[in-house]
């Protein structure tokens, strides 16, 4: 037996250890996979042996292979074996492997509960720490439930190392087992004032994570945090606290007012950029939440913007990036302060760093005015030519469209220019989704701006011409969709409809939805052409056109796509009918030439009546807002399903999506979410808000206001709205592919100098001679329709955020902590037993809790609110006269623990040292020991 053991040990020396494995892999680069599979065999062999150190060696190797992408879950049981070793060295290997490969759904975790519990209660703090660290990576609901009490006990361990880890661990427990939050919370709160800075920082960290998702439950902690913020020097912790305040202020404006002063002080005093930046961020959050009613509110904004300018001007790209990021937050509420730094932001657009350019693009949104829109867009177009990589291009495109279309095209003075820009964009290369964006934009502009239709339709006709005649596919197909639709819909505006019709007839291999639009609009266009010819009596031309269309439709009807087939056959039949009618008419005309055809007898007008009627823009959410009629139960079966055998069960699901792309909305089952029916008051309020908006909107013609308001959605009155006529005397443009949009820019620049005549130019001039800021009261150049169709009573602003939160694990943690439960009370008693040595500290806190205890014994929400308010009022007290008292008290406590206080100080200075100088870099030296893998 002894001999065997000796032999086993001896053999073991020649086993490969981790170093050998790594070296082996590096030496077998050509057939790495083969070598590793060989090693796997060895490892399996080793795992079969009894010796734990052999096993641990194997597990260590497996952990390495896991990093290279090999699944090691099969060795789970062996990992647990190694974890259970008595030796720290082996245990460590086991726990590391577990933290890398286990996850919360592993069934093996059941086996670990008792082992981990034993480890948590170990005398050796590093063994307990090891277990905590590892557990944090794979804790499951079961483990959280079974171990939460053990971990809670560790919160009052005498060793700060354990306390620190246990505090962080509690957060993971809460996530998996929300019931633990209420009883554990008082303890957690105590840890905010732990003598050890590390524990304190961990507690702050956990509360911040909790409060980030459910801030309202943590408002009562504001005074504690406020004190920490004004006393602590640990930058890391300060950052967390300040971030937390940023989340709390929107809920309690008074807190924000209190914060402004200390935060501004920090901004002035701190040398750490990270802290400065977070302070600015929170000040911004505060200013957004209170927005007005602050005396030196403008001064704070000014300070922030100034500091941010310094950041943006810094040569460090990181600061530049963050500066721009924070600017974009200010932009939302205080656009004017940001606009002052337009030069800087435009400069950042030229930066070589893509991240910075993207951030600057975000800011552009607020930088544009009527005056500089053309210029900025031109710059962006130049970038578009230079830009590599579709991500940045796509971003540029969507930003161009965003800045132009914002606020109902508020800044566009010349829609011809905008259409030209869009047409140019359509001829560039983008990611697949972008064509759709441009197409949608073209249609939107034309539908909403009546005056531009003639110009746009000519442009579209040219696009179609280029597409069909040159055989080049540079025009995005999704744009063709828009082009076809627009030319068909607004055919009356076309100059040479027949030519366009013949262009459209030449289409070839298009995606089905575009092809069907082509077919449909060919008919529309044909109707217009025919009307003209019929009046002129050119029946032969009509017949000839009919034949051309019929020939094309004969092709399309063979399409594999159902939609195309159907459209084509409809078209075929219509055209055939027309042909017969026209033939008959022609014959009758040949017979008796005396009479003129009466207009009401026109065949064309009959077809035209198929397409008559104005289209209105529909609000994006309109479909969702259609209320489910009373008595309609979408979940009910229309016909009871036929009993089927199990193998045909999948069929119905497939057929559902056969014809229509499946839309994930299941209206029936979610009906309660959007059933929100506005009350009379709400409707009234909305109406008033709309009225106010309309009055302030320069594009809204005020004369029509009263009549607009009489109808519920105003759409019926569109014909009555006077449309400002554009007197355009620009010759039609024929050449595509050039930078034609520049022309408009030059035109605009020219206009600035001489005071010229022309009706339109005068208008232009007015808006330009006045300064940037009075965009608001310029004469509307073009009327833009703003109404969108919505179901009665629905408003655009109805929130839908609830839906998105459903799968968030933090939802379960939304627990009002001011309400004590029985468990809470028990836990508090427990706490007293454990913390007899900290009684002095408790005294300090008692006051705080007394207020809450009294209030919360009665489970009334009103009372709770009061409690919160009082806590907040305390905040004022702390800041004013009680601050001194409390500080004295804390000093007393600290005297009793001189040692810990000294440590405390040491820690603080060190952390300060390590976190303040973020710039200094101590790089890894270039390796010289061995050659590199390449």
């Amino acid at each position: 037996m002894a001999l065997k053991k000796v032999k086993g040990n001896f053999e073991r020396m020649f086993d490969k250890n981790l170093t050998d494995l790594v070296r082996g892999i590096r030496n077998n680069k050509e057939n790495e996979a083969k070598y590793i599979s060989q090693c796997m065999e060895d490892i399996k062999q080793e795992l079969r042996q009894d010796n734990l150190s052999v096993k641990s060696n194997a597990i260590a190797k497996l952990t390495y292979l896991q990093m290279l992408g090999y699944d090691i879950s099969w060795a789970g049981f062996n990992i647990i074996e190694v974890m259970s070793s008595n030796k720290f060295t082996l245990k460590r290997i086991g726990y590391l492997a577990a933290s890398q490969s286990f996850h919360c759904d592993s069934e093996l975790l059941m086996l670990t509960t008792n082992m981990i519990r034993k480890e948590l209660n170990s005398q050796n703090q590093y063994e307990a720490g090891l277990a905590l660290t590892s557990l944090s990576c794979y804790i499951s609901t079961d483990l959280a439930r079974d171990l939460s009490n053990d971990i809670l006990t560790l919160l009052s361990s005498t060793k700060p190392y354990i306390r620190k880890k246990a505090v962080l661990m509690m957060y993971k427990v809460f996530l998996k087992y929300p019931e633990a939050l209420r009883p554990a919370f008082p303890r957690l709160k105590e840890k905010l004032e732990d003598p050890d800075p590390g524990v304190q920082s961990a507690a702050v960290n956990v509360v911040c994570e909790l409060a980030r998702k459910n801030p309202k439950n943590y408002l009562s902690l504001a005074p504690v945090f406020f004190k920490l913020m004004t006393t602590s020097t640990n930058n890391w912790m300060l950052i967390k606290i300040i971030k937390l305040f940023g989340a709390l202020t929107p809920l309690e404006p008074r807190l924000g007012k209190k914060l402004i002063e200390p935060l501004t002080n920090l901004i002035h005093s701190t040398s750490a950029m990270s802290l400065l930046y977070e302070c600015i961020n929170t000040v911004i959050a505060v200013l957004i939440s209170i927005s007005s009613g602050m005396p030196n509110h403008a001064a704070s904004i000014q300070l922030c913007v100034q500091k941010l300018r310094i950041l943006i001007e810094d040569s460090d790209q990181n600061l530049k990036y963050l500066g721009l990021l924070a600017m974009s937050k200010i932009l939302k509420t205080h656009p004017k302060s940001v606009q002052a730094h337009k030069d800087l932001i435009l400069q950042c657009l030229e930066d070589k760093d893509e991240s910075i350019r993207l951030r600057a693009l975000d800011l552009l949104y607020g930088m544009v005015s009527k005056k500089n829109l053309m210029e900025i867009v031109k710059k962006l177009m130049v970038h578009m030519d230079k830009a590599e990589g579709t991500v940045y291009r796509d971003e540029l495109l969507s930003k161009i469209i965003l800045i132009c279309s914002q606020n109902n095209y508020q800044f566009i003075t010349n829609f011809e220019w905008y259409i030209t820009v869009l047409v140019e964009l359509a001829q560039m290369e983008f990611g697949s989704k972008q064509g759709h964006v441009i197409g949608a934009q073209l249609m939107d502009v034309c539908i909403r701006v009546q005056a531009i239709r003639a110009f746009a339709v000519t442009e579209m006709a040219q696009l179609l011409d280029i597409y069909t005649s040159t055989n080049q596919f540079t025009i995005m197909q999704e744009v063709l969709y828009a082009a076809a639709w627009l030319t068909g819909e607004f055919a009356t505006e076309l100059e040479q409809p027949e030519q366009t019709l013949r262009c459209m007839l030449k289409y070839k291999c298009l995606p089905q939805h575009i092809e069907s639009v082509f077919i449909h609009n060919i008919i529309k266009l044909f109707a217009h052409v025919m009307e003209k010819y019929e009046l002129a009596g050119r029946f032969d031309d009509i017949l000839e056109l009919c034949d051309a269309i019929l020939a094309k439709m004969d092709d399309s009807i063979k399409s594999a796509e159902l939609e195309v087939q159907e459209r084509a056959s409809t078209a075929l039949i219509i055209i055939n009918i027309v042909k017969e009618e026209i033939l008959a008419k022609k014959n009758s005309k040949l017979m008796d030439t005396g009479e003129d055809p009466q207009p009401d007898e026109l065949v064309a007008s009959e077809i035209l009546s198929l397409f008559s009627g104005e289209l209105n823009p529909v609000a994006p959410k309109a479909q969702k807002k259609v209320p489910v009629p009373e008595g309609l139960d979408l979940d009910a079966w229309i016909n009871e399903p036929i009993e089927t055998t199990s193998d045909s069960d999948s069929e119905p699901e497939n057929t559902e999506n056969l014809f229509v792309k499946s839309d994930k909305y299941d209206y029936g089952s979610k009906s309660e979410k959007y059933q929100h029916e506005p009350t009379e008051d709400e409707i009234k309020k909305n109406r008033e808000a709309r009225k106010f908006e309309q009055q302030n909107n320069p594009h809204y013609l005020k004369g029509s206001l009263s009549s607009e308001l009489n109808s519920s959605n105003g759409n019926e009155n569109i014909e009555n709205i006077p449309v400002a006529e554009l007197n355009l005397n620009i010759p039609p443009l024929k050449i595509l592919g050039q930078k034609r949009s520049d022309k408009y820019l030059k035109l605009q620049q020219k206009e600035k100098k001489p005071k010229k005549k022309s009706k339109k130019k005068k208008k232009h001039h007015k808006s330009e001679s006045s300064s940037d800021d009075d965009n608001a009261d310029t004469v509307p150049a073009v009327e833009v329709k703003q109404h969108m169709e919505l179901p009665e009573g629905a408003t655009l602003s109805d929130s839908e955020s609830e839906q998105h939160k459903l799968d968030d694990p933090h939802r379960a943690l939304d627990i009002d902590l001011d309400l004590p439960s029985i468990g809470d009370m028990l836990a508090r008693k427990d706490g007293d037993e454990f913390e007899t040595d900290k009684k002095e500290k408790k005294k300090l806190k008692k006051k705080d809790e007394n207020v809450k205890d009294k209030k919360s014994d009665k489970h009334k929400s009103e009372r709770r609110k009061k409690g919160k308010v009082e806590n907040l009022l305390k905040l004022d007290l702390i800041n004013d006269d009680e601050e001194v008292k409390i500080e004295q008290k804390t000093k007393k406590v600290k005297k009793d623990k001189k040692k810990s206080k000294d440590k405390d100080k040491e820690g603080k200075t060190k952390t300060k040292k390590s976190s303040s100088g973020y710039e200094e870099a101590l790089g890894i030296s270039t390796p010289t020991k061995e050659n590199y893998p390449s």
Partner: protein, 191 residues
């Protein structure tokens, strides 16, 4: 919260991967690959932040990285972390490695991934920052190393001797020598 910490070299070879949220192994490799592609094409003089890849995170997540000589240290974090703070943390991590390995280089990370993990575990726990004070971290690591040494004692001496011999690069033949099986008679002996 920190979602993942990745260390890889200039060629995208992983040197350390720590995910604080579960991903299956093949997904982990894809994430590493994607992250490498995002990070490696950036110049050294551009900013150290970029929006997270499609695989990991989404809009709330950011990649914050530093590039040292041949290695990229990438942290994937959500908006509750301070960007500059995480840059500091990476610095603390690297400085700690430098102290523990005495002039750390890529090779140290290659051959001692386990140790690097142990060091990282003293900085970050379950995705939350545990300690940022370097001296505190170093004491904890030393304490644990001492613990290991005590356990090793004499029993580990032969193993250490063998590994020393191995490092001398003995020809493969010697390693392949199989010890003869013990005679059946000896095995059957009962004590």
């Amino acid at each position: 919260m920190i979602k993942a910490i990745l260390v890889f070299n200039n060629h995208g070879k992983p040197r350390l991967s720590k995910f604080y949220q579960y991903f299956p192994e093949d997904m982990q490799q894809q994430i590493i690959k994607e992250t490498f592609q995002l990070v490696s094409k950036r110049d050294d003089n551009v900013c150290n932040f970029l929006e997270g890849g499609s695989l990991i995170g989404g809009s709330d997540y950011k990649l914050i990285y530093r590039h040292y000589a041949t290695l990229y240290f990438v942290f994937c974090v959500d908006s509750s972390e301070s960007e500059l703070g995480i840059l500091d943390l990476i610095q603390v991590f690297v400085e700690t490695l430098d102290k523990c390995f005495e002039n750390v280089c890529e090779l140290d990370l290659i051959f001692h991934v386990d140790k690097v993990h142990f060091i990282l575990n003293e900085l970050v726990m379950g995705g939350m920052v545990l300690e940022t004070n370097m001296n505190e971290i170093l004491t904890r690591i030393e304490d644990q190393n001492k613990l290991e040494k005590q356990e090793a004692g004499i029993s580990a001496a032969p193993a250490r001797a063998v590994s020393a011999v191995k490092n001398m690069n003995i020809p493969q033949q010697i390693k392949d020598i199989k010890l003869p099986d013990l005679p059946q008679a000896i095995k059957d002996l009962k004590f």
